[in-house]
């Protein structure tokens, strides 16, 4: 293929016909407006990752010229990359959006961390329990999440509007049928909703959209020299002095970037020279491993994501 065919492709597209990204964008905006219209106290879960950046961008579009009528909620673990915190605070300030940060006080009291308590306990206590607390304390009745159906097999059947019991449980057997673009946002007392506006997006769609719309993302997605150690077959960045080095581990500077962002001791880096967005997309297209492989919590056991979801994660 040459550049000429590319231009021909563009010309052949009727102006009245929407591209797949335009359709996905319009669908996500429609979902956000439905959710906001049918809830009393909505919120958007904000994890600072690229999917969250896309969600926030879509929300700015959905309610323009009004501001999105809900706060961003960051369920914090205190173990994110320092660049993520900086990006989070800057973004909320620039866009003029309320930011609610919740840190599970039990975890603070007990000093829960991934080094001493392991990834499973760390994630469950900070994120799963923390999210429930944030929802209960603020009495949110609907939370937007950035989950996508292409991420993991159990997600392929998740509804866009997904009911959680008063105990925040997800019951895959009791999902509501979801037809056409009519969403049932009603809930019984105590129930809450999770709404996933970018359910039908793939990772490639997200990257293409970030590229097309010039959406700001955390610089950690781009390659740069960073201090890392080899651990359990992956590269872990030494982001601050809380990092517990094992015997023989010596941080070294490598050109790395991150495919997914979470708690820095649990996020594997890959060696890369892609320091531009197009470079990242190029590497992604040529890559041979799927997105979540870099996120350590998924590999605990087969069907682990399904278990986490039933327990209230996401």
């Amino acid at each position: 293929m040459t550049a000429t065919t590319t231009d021909e492709l563009a010309e052949n597209v009727s102006t009245a016909r929407l591209t797949h990204l335009q359709r996905l964008e319009a669908e996500a905006i429609h979902i956000m407006r439905e959710a906001v219209s049918e809830s009393d106290n909505p919120a958007m879960l904000y994890s600072i990752g690229k999917d969250s950046s896309v969600m926030l961008h879509l929300a700015m579009k959905a309610f323009h010229p009004s501001r999105p009528p809900f706060p961003l909620v960051h369920v914090d673990t205190t173990w994110k990359f320092s660049e993520m915190y900086a990006f989070r605070d800057r973004t909320a300030k620039e866009l003029g959006i309320d930011l609610v940060v919740h840190q599970n006080p039990d975890c603070i009291a007990q000093g829960i961390n991934p080094f001493d308590h392991g990834s499973a306990t760390h994630t469950d206590m900070w994120k799963t329990e923390g999210l429930k607390q944030a929802i209960d304390m603020n009495k949110f009745d609907l939370c937007f999440g950035g989950a996508r159906r292409d991420e993991e097999k159990s997600r392929a059947k998740e509804r866009i509007f997904s009911v959680r019991s008063p105990q925040h449980q997800w019951d895959p057997k009791r999902q509501r049928p979801e037809l056409w673009q009519i969403y049932n946002a009603r809930r019984s007392p105590g129930e809450t909703l999770r709404v996933f506006p970018i359910s039908n997006w793939t990772e490639l769609d997200v990257w293409q959209y970030v590229h097309l719309e010039q959406i700001p993302i955390v610089p950690l997605y781009l390659a740069a020299p960073r201090p890392v150690v080899h651990r359990d077959g992956t590269l872990i960045m030494v982001d601050d002095d809380r990092f517990q080095l094992r015997d023989g581990e010596e941080p070294e500077i490598k050109n790395v970037r991150f495919r997914t962002l979470g708690c820095y001791p649990l996020s594997g880096a890959i060696e890369s020279d892609a320091d531009t967005l197009t470079g990242v997309v190029q590497e992604m297209l040529l890559a041979t491993t799927s997105e979540r492989e870099g996120r350590l919590i998924d590999t605990d056991s087969a069907g682990s994501m399904e278990k986490k979801k039933q327990e209230g994660y996401f």
């Binding site: 016909r17 996905l24 429609h30 407006r33 056409w180 673009q181 197009t278 470079g279 799927s290």
Partner: protein
């Protein structure tokens, strides 16, 4: 990896540009596990290079462990998401899969094909542009093939691909393929599917999936992937597309950032809109002109079906969430009574007359569903009588809404003609439907009629309705006994009313005398009133001489079997005449009253009354107890 092409490596910017203009196709696959449906989707994902290497490693491990394809990769394992389903070996819900090629991005609704999963198929079909029907080449067109075809046509999918699978197991025989095509086409025409494409494939071996099969040189059509990439959908030039239809936008949200801006946000579900266009807001019917089409990326010169926008109007007219903004010259219809196809999707059956909620577009209203006119057997397409709809049943019903809503018939617009039914108590989505047309006034069904009937009133009263008909000579003691019975029933919480000569003759029947004709009319009217009160759920105590058997029969026939209790208050004429509480016998004997029963007019003694009271042997109190006991024996009171 996906989109392996030199372009990625050499000109990533150019590659991304070209991929921005891909269109989107949503399709549904129909078939059971046995048809190789999961294998087909797995194959499409695999062939479009959407299976990553670590997934592939997992697939190889799973195939060896639980696969059904021997040493080959079991593509079906790529799809079965939930652990429980993997163990059962069947998919039990709708799952959405994604892949893309150079030309298109695809969203696949993957649904199981078993009869009990009509709910899932309908759900998956509701958003699909194209349906891929799987047919096993060895088995041909089966009952389930017909079922799937009916469901996709019901949901308004016009383009069908019949993938005749497992051609490798019939020696890639053109004859087998042709026979299936002929058989299917005949059936498809019956249900109005005329845009059908047939492709012989082997999902397992990859024949005619992406590459033309060398084993089937006799087939010159496109491959399945080729078809999916090229089939036109959402074509604004096509006459039947919603993009070519009249403008429709349900108002989702009123956008008021400040006093100077008032916009109506929504997703366009039909036609095109431009500034300056005349519009009409339904159901109110107010009109205005489009001022601006506002987006964060700047105002638009036009917007088309599928886009989410915010519209401002030239006039300050009232519009709110749930309203439908329409092309001024081609507005939607507005009605509160409809005929519709209803698909029931919940374990708790549909209850005709019960109040549910209905969400149509962005509007939620109260709805009552009448008894189905018929239900459709999804296997035979027969129309069957039905009193209700159970899970996975489909019926044609009349709907009555608590207020008027704008709509288009479903076959003209899937978004303005579709609705879901929500249970008021659990808030679950329990049904879905497609509107056909508004009912003419003469066909109107009444909200009240279907909601409360005799049984409902009886249930509220906690007793059955009925008539206790006291007959006997004047002065026999009918009214005395009836009064005591009413007191006793009242004490028991029974809702009663006593009809006797005193309260009927002075009002309702004051125009009637005592001729035989008037006596019959008298009893006819009393029978009618008793019948209405029984319908109202009450127990009527009617105390009239009613000397003729025929008119007592009239009163009995006015109500249902078991609701009529005839009490013959049997007093010898001599005794009644001796009592003569109102001095009537004396007057009759003196010739001052004509047609007096027992004197100069006959009394036909009841042959088999439910209760006979011999007042020469029984007190009025005892008689009343006996009658209450008789009502209890008959189950009229508890």
């Amino acid at each position: 990896m996906a989109h392996v092409s030199d372009l990625i490596a050499t000109d990533i910017e150019g590659y991304l540009r070209s991929h921005q203009y891909k269109s989107l196709l949503r399709f549904i696959t129909c078939g059971s596990v046995d048809d190789g449906k999961s294998t087909l989707i797995g194959r499409l994902l695999f062939e479009s290079h959407m299976v990553f290497e670590d997934h592939l490693a997992q697939l190889e491990a799973d195939s060896a462990k639980v696969g059904t394809q021997g040493t080959d990769l079991d593509f079906a394992l790529l799809l079965d998401g939930l652990t429980a389903e993997r163990e059962q070996g069947i998919t039990i819900d709708v799952a959405y899969r994604f892949f893309s090629t150079e030309k298109r991005k695809f969203i696949v609704a993957d649904t199981p094909g078993h009869e009990q999963y009509t709910r899932n198929m309908v759900t998956g079909a509701s958003t699909a542009d194209v349906a891929v029907l799987m047919v096993d080449a060895r088995k041909g067109v089966l009952t389930q093939t017909r079922r799937h075809s009916y469901l996709v046509s019901l949901l308004g999918i016009k383009k069908i691909v019949v993938a005749v699978n497992k051609m490798d197991l019939v020696d890639y025989s053109a004859a087998v393929f042709d026979t299936i095509c002929v058989e299917y086409r005949e059936f498809a025409e019956q249900i109005g599917l005329d845009d059908v494409t047939f492709i012989p494939v082997s999902a397992l071996k990859g024949d005619n999936i992406v590459e033309p099969s060398p084993a089937m040189p006799w087939f010159d059509g496109s491959t399945l992937m080729g078809f999916l990439e090229d089939v036109p959908v959402d074509d604004p030039d096509a006459d039947d597309s919603v993009a070519a239809g009249p403008f429709r936008m349900p108002v989702q949200w009123v956008n008021r950032p400040n006093l100077d801006f008032r916009g109506f946000s929504g997703r366009i579900v039909g036609g095109t809109v431009r500034p300056g266009d005349d519009i009409r807001v339904l159901p109110a019917g107010t009109t205005s002109t489009v001022d601006r089409i506002v987006t964060k990326d700047g105002d638009l010169d036009q917007a088309v079906a599928g886009q989410s926008v915010t519209i401002t109007l030239a006039d300050e007219i009232d519009a709110s969430r749930g309203d439908l903004i329409c092309a001024g010259g081609a507005p939607a219809e507005v009605a509160d009574q409809f005929e519709a196809h209803v698909v029931w999707m919940h374990e708790d059956e549909m209850l005709p007359g019960r109040p549910y909620l209905m969400k149509i577009g962005t509007r939620t209203v109260g709805v009552s569903i009448a008894h189905p006119k018929y239900r459709v057997d999804v296997n035979t397409l027969e129309r069957l009588a039905a009193n209700n709809l159970e899970l996975n049943e489909i019926g044609v019903c009349n709907l009555s809404l608590d207020r008027a809503v704008p709509f288009d018939p479903y076959d003209q617009n899937r978004d303005t003609g579709s609705f879901i039914i929500i249970d008021k108590l659990t808030q679950n989505t329990v049904g879905a439907g497609m509107l056909h047309f508004a009912l003419r006034r003469s066909h109107n069904i009444h909200w009240q009629d279907v909601r409360v009937d005799k049984a409902a009133r009886a249930a509220q009263n906690s007793h059955q309705p009925g008539v206790v008909w006291f007959t006997g000579l004047s002065g026999s003691g009918k009214s005395t006994i009836a009064n005591i019975v009413e007191s006793k029933l009242h004490t028991l919480g029974v809702r009663t009313y006593l009809l006797d000569g005193d309260n009927v003759r002075h009002g309702l029947n004051r125009d009637l005398g005592f001729t035989d004709v008037d006596r019959v009319e008298n009893i006819r009217r009393i029978s009618e009133v008793s019948g209405l009160m029984v319908d109202a759920g009450m127990i009527v105590l009617a105390s009239f001489i009613s000397p003729f058997a025929a008119e007592r029969r009239l009163a009995r026939d006015r109500v249902e079997d078991g609701e009529f209790v005839e009490v013959h208050v049997d007093t010898p004429l001599a005794l009644a005449e001796e009592r003569d509480p109102k001095g009537l016998y004396a007057k009759a004997r003196a010739g001052e009253l004509e047609n007096f029963t027992g004197i100069d007019s006959p009394y036909e003694v009841p042959e088999s009354p439910e209760v006979r009271i011999d007042t020469s042997m029984t007190t009025a109190e005892e008689a009343a107890d006996e009658i209450v006991e008789a009502l209890r024996r008959r189950g009229i009171i508890g």
